[in-house]
């Protein structure tokens, strides 16, 4: 050893001080003060906080019922999505299933579309004039054609559409499972089931916790699915929050409701963190080997699993196929959910491409999203490193939770907070007015993507093998060098996957852009919204589909380049 690092008394590291100053400023100036300012303006503009908004909400049967529904949906969804998500990962990565490469592509379709389009896709199959319903009605003429409505329908749609995070992060985790541990267990005579539950799944736990939190949040803030298939009995609270947020005098209600959801989320995060701290799940051997797919020994189970895998595949792929087909028809066919050759048209594609021929919004959104994904990724990686190095210190725990603040408020409100705070010179923003500048939207994009990035990156850090770092240090590498050359490369696949998801999400952002975009630099989300919501063009319904297909293509390309490659890197040891 040439440099006994730990024995040297090191001078104050100015770099570290600078980083700490930056984070203190960032948390206060971007996360805390704008939101506090908004809350102050909303609640205290008319002479102090009153209990009136609470009374209004308590009196409203509709609001209470919607709130209850959201709280019913979130945990059940976490459960169903968790089960389906784990099974997807096992099918594609662990068990030896015929045609798993194709299956995987099918399961990954949720990564490229969502929202209203996705639910429409399901309605093409299960809705009152859907394919399946029409088929069933031949068999059972007396059945209720509106059977696909309510809690069950919402749960069904969301269970199969919210597995994206499992397909990325849980899969990544599965790949870090050390096959030697599996073999060791088998040599000791453990059954397949026992190996799975006692050896494989525990390693995936940190990631499973993280994605479960995401699912819970998705359930709490469910929007399109309840609105489209919930019927009057199963509406959730988020659409109401969104409408209140967009109404001048109802913002107080929006904030209260959002905070209720936010606090529930924080509670869950807290509990999960506690559980996480209890055990540090790690595979133990020093030279990892890649997992070898397991053939299911029991032939009956094997057949059943294959059937299950392909049934899931059909559930996943059908909506996408129908959306693509319907995107070549007109609004009338979509409304009637009838496919026919006579209604085949390329007009909508032509119109959309002409309207987007001014390609500037594309460029603007690509630049913004890429920059934001990069910045948020960097900030979070540094923050996670700090938190990891200083586990248990209060100030760093505070930093961790501060990064989750944007989960407490809807995007619209965060945008409003930024707009209303930085429309005047603020000392903590270096006396610069930010509204009307290019910068403010970038800040907004970074802020909204913080919590997700933070939670997932943290999970990746948790999955790190401390031995790696120790080895590097023992060999005399400096802290920065260790991080750059040893830790970061291991994290890279996850970091890249998160960046890709952030990029795709921001590319279509409307809520943040709407209030913050620069007049000369319209973003894609705003452009598309004005195309599909155009009062002067009644063909909006068809355009929504065409635009969704366009976004599927873009998302696929991005995922292929970033995640596809990242996936391969991960395979190398």
């Amino acid at each position: 050893m040439t440099r006994p690092v730990s024995l040297q008394k090191r001078p104050i590291s100015w770099g570290k001080v600078l980083i700490m100053v930056f984070f203190t400023w960032f948390v206060l100036a971007c996360l805390v003060l704008p939101n506090l300012n908004l809350i102050r303006q909303v609640f205290f503009s008319e002479g102090g906080l009153t209990i009136k908004p609470f009374q209004k909400l308590l009196k409203s049967k509709r609001a209470m019922k919607a709130l209850r529904n959201s709280f019913v949906l979130a945990p059940t969804l976490s459960l169903t999505v968790g089960l389906v998500g784990i099974s997807l990962v096992l099918i594609t990565e662990y068990f030896d299933i015929k045609g798993s490469a194709v299956l995987r592509l099918g399961y990954m379709t949720t990564l490229i579309y969502g929202g209203v389009t996705l639910v429409s896709g399901y309605k093409f199959i299960y809705g009152d004039s859907g394919v399946l319903t029409q088929l069933l009605i031949q068999l059972f003429p007396n059945m209720n054609i509106k059977w696909f409505q309510g809690y069950g329908a919402v749960l069904f749609v969301m269970t199969f559409s919210c597995t994206s995070n499992h397909m990325i992060f849980l899969r990544n985790a599965m790949r870090t499972v050390d096959f030697q541990t599996v073999e060791a267990a088998r040599n000791m005579g453990a059954s397949q089931w026992r190996i799975l539950t006692r050896v494989v799944l525990p390693v995936m736990l940190p990631s499973l916790f993280a994605v479960t939190i995401l699912t819970f949040i998705t359930g709490l803030s469910a929007m399109s699915a309840p609105m489209m298939v919930g019927g009057t009995n199963f509406q959730t609270i988020n659409p109401m929050i969104k409408d209140f947020a967009n109404t001048q005098t109802s913002k107080d209600l929006a904030i209260i409701l959002a905070l209720i959801l936010g606090l529930a989320t924080m509670l869950l995060i807290l509990v999960m963190s506690r559980i996480e701290k209890r055990g540090h799940y790690m595979s133990v051997s020093k030279a990892k080997t890649k997992i070898v797919k397991q053939k299911i020994n029991n032939p009956v189970v094997n057949v059943l699993v294959h059937i299950y895998a392909y049934a899931l595949f059909i559930i996943y792929v059908m909506p996408v196929v129908l959306i693509i087909l319907f995107s070549f028809t007109d609004s009338k066919s979509i409304a009637l959910r009838q496919l026919s050759f006579s209604s085949f048209t390329l007009e909508n594609y032509k119109y959309l491409i002409e309207s987007l021929s001014n390609y500037k919004p594309f460029v603007v959104s690509i630049v913004y999203s890429a920059l934001a994904a990069l910045i948020v990724g960097s900030i979070v990686v540094i923050a996670c490193r700090l938190i990891q190095k200083n586990r248990g210190k209060k100030i760093f725990t505070t930093l961790e939770y501060s990064m989750m603040i944007p989960w407490l408020l809807p995007t619209t409100m965060i945008a409003l907070g930024l707009m209303m705070t930085f429309n005047v010179k603020q000392p903590y923003m270096f006396n610069q007015v930010l509204t009307g500048t290019l910068l403010i939207l970038l800040i907004g994009y970074v802020i909204v993507k913080l919590p997700f990035t933070m939670r997932m990156t943290k999970a990746a850090f948790f999955g790190l093998d401390d031995a790696l770092e120790d080895a590097s240090k023992n060999l005399g590498a400096g802290e920065l060098y260790t991080f750059r050359r040893v830790i970061f490369p291991v994290l890279l696949p996850t970091v890249m996957a998160i960046a890709a998801l952030n990029f795709n999400g921001l590319l279509q952002d409307y809520d943040m852009s709407a209030f913050l975009y620069h007049p000369l630099n319209k973003t894609l989300g705003v452009q598309i919204k004005s195309l599909t919501d155009d009062m002067g063009n009644p063909n909006g319904l068809a355009l929504t589909f065409v635009y969704a297909v366009l976004m599927m293509i873009i998302s696929s390309v991005v995922l292929y380049f970033v995640y596809g490659r990242g996936g391969k890197d991960n395979m190398k040891e």
Partner: protein, 350 residues
């Protein structure tokens, strides 16, 4: 030297005089960049306007957004306004912006008298450019004129319409808010809750009780032609009637209430705090002129508020916009509409 000064002065006078004389579409821009906010820029309208204005020397940066977002932005940016001129919106939002002191009144442009009576703001905060009748439309192929509702109130007071009309779940849209205003304004009562009498709220309750809630992602006209949906009627704006008829193969009928129908009046105003007042005034003088509004109507099928330009609009539009305007106190509506919508969302929606 004195002669030179005199010459320069007289030249300036002649020049400024000629400027003053230039009216309407003859007004030329000076190239000062104007930032314009509008909710009325889709279907290529923003692009068309930018180009057309550039031909006459105006340099425009147009921000195009939904009406609510435009309103929010102007409110949020009040301390340091970015926007110079705003056009589009509707009387409710105009009155909200006026009450927040976010607009400046300006001297009537030369075309102000050509606008149909009652559409311009009496205090000169905005002048009207386009009008849109907010209608109760039905599918005339399935409902005969005799069986059709005559007024909104018929929908929930006559059993035969129960379930057959669409009610809105999203109350942030301009059309929806005009419909709500059109109903509640008949029951204004300073002593009632939120300025509306008990009877008025009863009507609103029944409206939602007997209607069918709109399905997100599905247009009214899509419901009309869908055999599985009971919906046959609902709200529609006048320029949408012809367009939706063509898209969905429907033949629309519209109810003509005795009290008239609400009109969404798109206007043009100047944001309080603009640094380009002169150019803003020149632009408005040019933009609202019969010539430019006529070109706009021809190109985009809207109904100009300018009566000379209105002759360029298509026959159906002229007919629909001939329905008398309902007498609505927009200032009161602007004051209460958010709270009305909140109450409806909390208490009356199923």
């Amino acid at each position: 030297m004195k002669k030179l000064i005199a010459l320069v002065l007289s030249l300036i006078m002649v020049f400024s005089l000629s400027c003053a004389i230039a009216e309407g579409a003859d007004t030329k821009g000076t190239g000062v960049a104007l930032t314009i906010y509008t909710n009325s820029g889709s279907s290529g309208r923003a692009d068309w306007l930018t180009q057309r204005a550039a031909e006459d020397g105006f340099k425009l940066a147009i921000l195009e957004e939904g009406a609510g977002a435009v309103q929010q932005r102007i409110i949020g940016e009040a301390a340091n306004p970015i926007c110079d001129v705003v056009f589009g919106l509707n009387a409710i939002i105009w009155n909200d912006l006026i009450s927040r002191d976010l607009l400046v009144p300006y001297a009537a442009p030369s075309w102000a008298d050509e606008v149909s009576a009652g559409l311009n703001d009496p205090n000169g905060y905005y002048y009207a450019i386009v009008k849109q009748a907010i209608l109760l439309a039905y599918d005339a192929n399935q409902v005969s004129e005799a069986d059709a509702p005559k007024d909104w109130l018929d929908l929930w007071n006559d059993e035969k319409f129960y379930g057959k009309y669409e009610t809105q779940i999203k109350l942030t849209g301009g059309t929806t808010r005009n419909v709500i205003a059109g109903v509640l304004c008949r029951y204004l009562d300073p002593n009632g809750e939120l300025g509306v009498s008990e009877e008025g709220w009863k009507q609103m309750e029944l409206y939602y009780e007997h209607g069918t809630l709109a399905e997100s992602g599905v247009d009214l006209y899509a419901q009309m032609i869908n055999k599985n949906s009971p919906v046959l009627m609902g709200q529609m704006w006048s320029s949408g009637v012809t367009q939706y008829d063509a898209t969905y193969g429907v033949k629309s009928g519209v109810a003509i209430p005795e009290v008239g129908v609400p009109y969404a009046v798109e206007g043009v105003g100047i944001v309080n705090g603009t640094k380009n007042m002169e150019e803003a005034l020149r632009f408005i003088e040019w933009f609202g002129s019969a010539q430019i509004q006529g070109e706009w109507a021809e190109k985009f099928g809207t109904m100009p508020a300018n009566e000379i330009a209105a002759l360029k609009a298509d026959a159906v539009q002229q007919q629909l916009c001939a329905i008398p305007a309902q007498n609505i106190d927009w200032a009161i509506v602007a004051e209460y509409i958010d709270e009305w919508c909140e109450k409806i969302m909390l208490e009356y929606m199923p």
